[in-house]
Symmetry: C2
Subunit: 161 residues, 2 copies
């Protein structure tokens, strides 16, 4: 990312509709407080559901796509690599792949993924990571699509990185 | 708690307005998926904010009270003890103290705390725990009140447990 951040800490990414936002970590006795998403955030659309994915070290969970649902991801524990691939024919960034690290202390930020783009993630810490996802529509099976992690339809090799 | 659970897994607790709800843990390759809160849950009121408290082993974060905001707590990582004290003069459970454990695998559940009751929490695992809180109103400083953990106003001794 070589984009300038907005005053609210949000920044557009190479793939159209994908945004990151720097998140506050407030040091406190007994352990810090980690912000994730507020109803008045520029990246907030609607509240559907909040859930967590445990990501074991080295495990790859890919590929996923939602037709209607937006993803808002942050990693409060451990380090997660998230890769996004734009396969939308009408997108200005069609064909692009972008990789993000999420986790404390260096990458504690929100990653917003719009509907219609492929994404997957991998555990990149020695201990299991927690990837939180605050989506704008509750999970519906018929909104979710999947491809194998090694699918030839997406130009990204998980094992090679 | 000696209450029978509702079909949706929710159950009222000894303190009026405090509820727990059993949460699904969906085993998956690479790590389980942990549900927390959906917009169609019986315990969902509104979405204000989702944030995390890191709770270091043995650390006590208490006491807190919100005049308007409801808390929805779950611990996706580590084990957290949450204690609730009802100091509401008009409440049928005025004066009661109730203690909950939150965390996997035995206590992965949602704890709903209504406005107006005191609560605090402590880290009860060997590693730092993550306590997620999905509140119905974004944090406002003038909605939040505090007492010292050893305040004589609340009949609970953190150090004794």
């Amino acid at each position: 990312m070589v984009t300038l951040n907005n005053p609210d800490g949000s920044a557009p990414c190479a793939i159209d509709g994908v945004w990151t936002q720097e998140l506050s970590v407030i040091e406190a006795a007994g352990g810090p407080v980690l912000h994730m998403l507020r109803a008045d955030s520029p990246l907030f659309r609607d509240f559907g559901e909040i859930y967590f994915s445990v990501v074991l070290p080295g495990a790859v969970k890919a590929w996923k796509l939602h037709r209607e649902q937006s993803q808002n991801l942050a990693a409060p524990s451990g380090l997660v690599q998230v890769v996004v691939y734009d396969g939308r024919p009408s997108s200005p960034s069609m064909g692009k792949v972008e990789s993000f690290l999420l986790g404390r202390p260096d990458y504690y930020r929100l990653l917003h993924i719009p509907p219609g783009v492929w994404y997957g993630f991998a555990g990149r810490s020695d201990a299991p990571a927690i990837l939180a996802n605050c989506v704008d529509i509750p999970h519906q099976q018929d909104d979710a699509f999947g491809l194998d992690a090694d699918s030839s339809e997406i130009p990204y090799a998980w094992n090679g990185r």
